[in-house]
Symmetry: C2
Subunit: 180 residues, 2 copies
Amino acid sequence: MPKETYIPCLLGLFRQYGYDGATLSKISEATGLGKASLYHHFPGGKDEMVETVLDYLEKWLGENILPALESEGDVVTKLGQMCLRLNELYQGGEQPCVFAILLSGSARDVFHAKVKALFRGWIDAMANVLIESGMDAQLAKQRGEDAAIAIQGSLILSQALDDTTLFQRTSEQLPTIICR
Amino acid sequence: MPKETYIPCLLGLFRQYGYDGATLSKISEATGLGKASLYHHFPGGKDEMVETVLDYLEKWLGENILPALESEGDVVTKLGQMCLRLNELYQGGEQPCVFAILLSGSARDVFHAKVKALFRGWIDAMANVLIESGMDAQLAKQRGEDAAIAIQGSLILSQALDDTTLFQRTSEQLPTIICR
DNA sequence: ATGACTGTACCGAATGAACGGTACAAAAAA
DNA sequence: TTTTTTGTACCGTTCATTCGGTACAGTCAT
């Protein structure tokens, strides 16, 4: 089996336990692979596993989020398409954001640059939609940031309060937040 | 020295490294106390340290955030007072929220209930301000949640993008978000 | 006032378990 | 046969935790 097979499993583990909490024992158990097999597929160890997951997500964002924002239609339609994809990514708000998770613990120093770039890419894409619709560039950038803030915040609170409707509602209100 | 002395230090460590990343070696080094001494003050180990920090923060919220929301003045003034306090708590957006940090890793199962209660208390307090100003109760609850979402999200993105102005700006826009 | 006792604060060294990671040979697939 | 994959047994390190014990300030009874 190619190592790509295990990406969803790894993603789930890093989301649930974080970098420090996702031990090789847990990874071995969850993937069904022995340690030797894990190191065969990922010679770089845990870091390479995270790297692989991040690369996969970068690709996924490029194939799902960005096209949604470039689809035909008005701003509200585009944002709606994006939220449909985000809803898959975060499983309706049940799963936390692995990028946010990787911002703390031993992972921070290693992956911060990549996480930062991914966030910037997403925000810029949202800002571009607003600019194309005639919004001032500086304001569009802020509104893109506000959208990301709303999504990330709603994920935190969905986790904290065990209530995915917070993520759902924020998704629906995103046009209101952005175009106010 | 009483164990309360070490709370700020412990808070800093758990914020920076998370529960799993904040090892006893790090805690020992940061507090200047030997591991054995740590167990003298906190017989329950790391869990008791986190518990102590959470208890301290619960008290701090009760003495700072809630009074700010009950101060005299209109809604905007009250929210402004609260944001002043939050600015201290999060050091202008430089520090992440320890409650959010504790939502992942091995800590989750142990502290989730307490974190949930703390978030609910904060949100309810904000909602009450809105209700007193005449807002419909159900809408007020949602707007309280939206405020918490905005604060938490802005902290995440301040961390991710190395830009505390996101937290600052969100703080200033909080009345706009809540009373829109 | 003095010596015996007590409680609090602290620490160095050690514990077993678990950590991330490796060596190597058997086995399975090509 | 050759290459890829895997299980087993291990490595040194670090983990949370505990043990045995010191230092010292207070509190006694004498």
